[in-house]
């Protein structure tokens, strides 16, 4: 975490001058310098960094210039939006990639699998923001089915503002989560398909067939479970990509989450908020990858056994 903080801090210097954003154009140079001095922006790098670390020890990772409050608070208030979005896209990915992947692995030649594969190539190659804008034009501008921006109505559940419990909120969720999943979904379909096809070639599958097991048992219990191992690993790593893509999706849909907040912070030169975002995202990465390792152990006995030795 300290390393991430350090890197974030090192690059913030090149992000530009926050003073410009918070003062009018005709403000004199003296006034600007005075303000810069007050904020401690003139201090040498190491002094600023040690001040940051000192604060971080007490849970204070800086104060956003724009929101005028603690950066951590700002991020926490934006986090539910992003987490709900990521959760819903993950749900879409899991619900669709597994059946579609298995189906196209079992019947590689059927027309339906060819359509899936063709569609997934298309999905991977269209950039997220294009998918998003296309969807906005089709479903909100032309057909007036779905709202074009924002989170809609939210309900406050003990500080967690959720859009999952209102119809309006769910409607607003549909397009952003599809857009966000549009990159990962095809990737997972292809991954599951190729892994599964490879597994199906294995001797123990042939043996299972020979034993006369029901196809369902062969495919799901024997083949699919072994397919899952690489999928979980990739999934953990891809979560990072997913967070990166929330930045794009959230910008297009004016989704009030962390990604959108980060882009705005970069544009405004709101350095403390940028650094705080990097630290928090770094933390999420560490947690998720730890979880993946744990799950991996649960699914794959080999990992546990080698670990014991």
């Amino acid at each position: 975490m300290i390393v991430i903080g350090f890197i974030g801090f090192a690059i913030k210097q090149s992000f530009g001058d926050p003073i410009r954003e918070i003062t009018g154009v005709s403000v004199s140079v003296e006034e600007r310098n005075k303000l810069r001095e007050e904020l401690g922006l003139n201090d040498p790098f190491l002094v600023q960094f040690s001040r940051f670390i000192k604060g971080a020890m007490h849970g204070d990772i800086g104060r956003s210039f724009f929101y005028k409050k603690s950066a951590l608070k700002v991020i926490l208030s934006k986090a539910p939006a992003t987490l709900e979005l990521v959760f819903c896209s993950a749900l879409i990915i899991v619900l669709f990639s597994i059946p579609l992947g298995i189906y196209s692995a079992i019947n590689p030649r059927s027309i339906f699998s060819r359509i899936i594969m063709g569609g997934s190539t298309l999905g991977v190659s269209i950039p997220v923001f294009l998918t998003a804008i296309l969807m906005i034009y089709i479903f909100s501008v032309e057909l007036h089915w779905l709202p074009s921006y924002g989170r809609g109505e939210t309900i406050n559940l003990g500080g967690w503002r959720t859009g999952l419990l209102t119809l309006d909120g769910l409607k607003h969720l549909i397009m952003p989560s599809i857009a966000l999943s549009s990159i990962m979904l095809p990737l997972f379909i292809r991954l599951i398909r190729s892994e599964m096809m490879e597994v199906l070639q294995n001797d123990y599958i042939k043996y299972a067939w020979a034993k006369g097991l029901a196809p369902r048992r062969v495919f799901i219990v024997h083949a699919f479970k072994n397919t899952l191992l690489p999928v979980i690993t990739v999934g953990g790593v891809q979560l990072g990509t997913m967070i990166a893509f929330t930045i794009l999706t959230e910008t297009v849909f004016q989704w009030q989450g962390m990604g959108f907040m980060f882009i705005e912070a970069v544009e405004r030169g709101d350095a403390p908020l940028m650094v705080a975002y990097l630290v928090v995202v770094g933390l999420i990465f560490v947690i998720v990858n730890t979880l993946v390792d744990v799950i991996y152990g649960l699914v794959n006995p080999q990992v546990r056994i080698t670990g014991r030795k």
Binding site: S14, F15, G16, D17, P18, R20, E21, I22, T23, G24, V25, S26, V27, S28, V29, E31, K34, L35, L39, R63, F65, F66, Y67, K68, K69, L91, V94, L95, I133, I136, Y137, S140, V141, P147, S148, Y149, G150, E153, L164, L165, T166, L167, D168, L170, I220, V221, K225, T251, V252, F253, Q254, Q256, E264, V266, E267, R268, G269, L298, V299, P301
Partner: protein, 538 residues
């Protein structure tokens, strides 16, 4: 056994997910009814305007930052002494009338019976208090430098005194949004002064307001949405909008889509590429207007020897096809400029016309002794002005035709201004809109000799310096005879034109789009402070 256990748990997780989804969907129906019931009476109570802008106010304190967004906010929640009318005259607001008592004193007679949102009555004390606060606000103190003080005459009369005769006093009065002095006096919960002007931290004034404007801030989640409700005791009965819901939508395409899909009623600004589409959509109204923000290039003659030569500077202006840029790059959404101030300004000199003439440019380069051209550097922002990067690229290719090889670097505005101040390149781009709505302001900031003590020429990265222009500009500050002042300003523009002091491109147009059931055209203005208090929705 273990395998099947793992499998079982997977299935359970999946089904849980499915059940979760479907149960959520079942919950929807009652939720919808609830919201329909709660919104129905609200709709009867008054008209609601759903407004989308590219940003929302950074603070609730109207004196914390001088920017377009903050002024738009101030016109909704506060009310100025006077405000700009469409024809460039002043419309009385909190000041009902005003008279010049002597050379340096203006007496304002204030509207009676006005109250602040807190319920406190509005008096001359509040005007004096607000002017004093403006004089210490980092963003406004420069503009209020010519003011000595304001004095209470009686509860409804106030004298504003300037150091010297000042022709722009009423222009400045459009920035005086009286604040509730009683409300903002004292200590807040954390023991800090309620009147403190704080740019980067929490303060009472940043999160609380008490103005005299038509709207009070009912709800605010910064960067997400702000809800304005009409103040029932507001004195001006024009306009019928009870509630304004302001949502910032930063992405241009999304903002337009929100209007097209009917999710919002009013958007500003409208990106140039979507003007046609909105114009041709039934039920929508597009209003555009030529603005006063001039886009220019500055040629740094201190840094780069050839720019000292008048002929070279002229050649560059003759080589710049600014009407081509307006047509191709700006899609006609700008007005070609040959001088700093647009037509409405006192400085406008109709004799100064755009000068594109490639043959003449080549001729001038030859005469200057640079027939083979030269190479130089240039910087421009890529997210500050409309199409700034494309304009810079077009300019580079135009200069290529007279043999000038320009190496262009573009960057985001967060980095640009430091580079601009450091004058890192021979040619630098800058746009300017005068806060005073007066043309002398352009010259003061962009073209007077740079002087760190007086602050003149703060953005003069071309380091153009002509003592004659300086003298004339300073003279305009105290000249109160409008005819004489106008002649002086026109002479300045002529001198700058002949001197090829800068490369003029165009004035950016302003744009607003809304549903066509409201009087959008009447409430918008060239200052881009829409008067939402006067908006009537049919």
């Amino acid at each position: 056994m273990k395998r099947s256990l793992v499998f079982l748990s997977l299935v359970v997780i999946l089904t849980l997910g499915l059940v979760g989804c479907s149960s959520e969907k079942k919950d929807e129906a009652p939720a919808k009814q609830d919201s329909a019931e709660t919104t129905a009476p609200a709709a009867d109570a008054g008209k609601v305007l759903k407004l989308a802008m590219d940003a929302d106010p950074v603070s609730l304190d109207p004196q914390v930052q001088l920017s377009g967004g903050m002024m738009q906010y101030a016109h909704m929640v506060f009310d100025p002494l006077v405000r700009w009318a469409k024809d460039g005259s002043f419309e009385p607001r909190l000041a009902e009338s005003w008279e010049q008592i002597n050379d340096t004193t203006m007496r304002f007679h204030l509207r009676k019976g006005v109250t602040f949102h807190s319920g406190n009555p509005f008096t001359a004390e509040d005007v004096v208090w607000s002017i004093n606060r403006l004089k210490v606000s980092p963003d406004f103190k420069g503009l209020f430098e010519p003011f000595t003080e304001a004095k209470v005459v009686d509860a409804n009369t106030v004298d504003v005194i300037t150091k010297e005769p000042y022709g722009l006093l009423l222009n400045m009065a459009t920035y005086i949004f009286p604040m509730d002095s009683k409300f903002y006096t004292g200590k807040d919960e954390s023991g800090k002064d309620k009147a403190a002007i704080v740019k980067t931290g929490p303060s009472f004034a940043n999160t609380n307001e008490s103005g005299t404007g038509k709207y009070l801030v009912a709800e605010r989640e910064q960067g997400v949405r702000t809800v304005f409700k009409a103040y029932p005791k507001y004195w001006d009965k024009a306009g019928n909008v009870e509630t304004i819901i302001l949502t910032p939508i930063k992405n241009d395409a999304t903002r337009v889509a929100a209007l097209l899909s009917g999710d919002v009623d009013f958007i500003m600004p409208v990106p140039p590429q979507d003007l046609k589409r909105i114009e041709s959509t039934e039920g929508l109204e597009l209003v555009t207007m030529s603005g006063s923000r001039i886009i220019t290039f500055q040629l740094n003659s201190e840094r780069f020897e050839p720019f000292k030569n008048l002929k070279v500077r002229q050649a560059i202006i003759y080589a710049t096809d600014n009407s081509g840029i307006v047509e191709k790059v700006m899609k006609g959404f700008a007005t070609v400029a040959a001088q700093q101030g647009p037509k409405e300004f006192a400085s406008y000199n109709p004799a100064l016309t755009p000068r594109y003439d490639l043959a003449k440019a080549q001729q001038l380069m030859k005469e200057a002794g640079y027939a083979d051209g030269f190479a130089c550097t240039m910087i421009a922002p890529n997210n500050r002005y409309v199409n700034d990067e494309k304009i810079a690229e077009a300019f580079v290719s135009m200069l290529g035709k007279i043999g000038i090889k320009v190496s262009l670097k573009t960057m985001p505005k967060a980095q640009y201004w430091d580079q601009f101040d450091a004058r890192v390149a021979d040619i630098q781009m800058i746009g300017w809109h005068p806060d005073t709505e007066d043309s002398a302001n352009y010259t003061e900031f962009l073209l007077m000799c740079p002087n760190s003590e007086t602050g003149y020429g703060q953005y003069n990265s071309g380091q153009y310096c002509n003592p004659e222009v300086d003298a004339m500009t300073i003279q305009t500050q105290t000249e109160t005879d409008t005819a004489k002042r106008s002649a002086l300003l026109q002479k300045i523009e002529k001198t700058l034109y002949d001197d090829a002091a800068f490369v003029p491109l165009h004035w950016q147009n302003l744009s607003w789009a809304s549903k066509n059931n409201m009087n959008t055209g009447e409430i918008v203005n060239v200052q881009n402070f829409p008067y939402f208090g006067n908006l009537v929705i049919k």
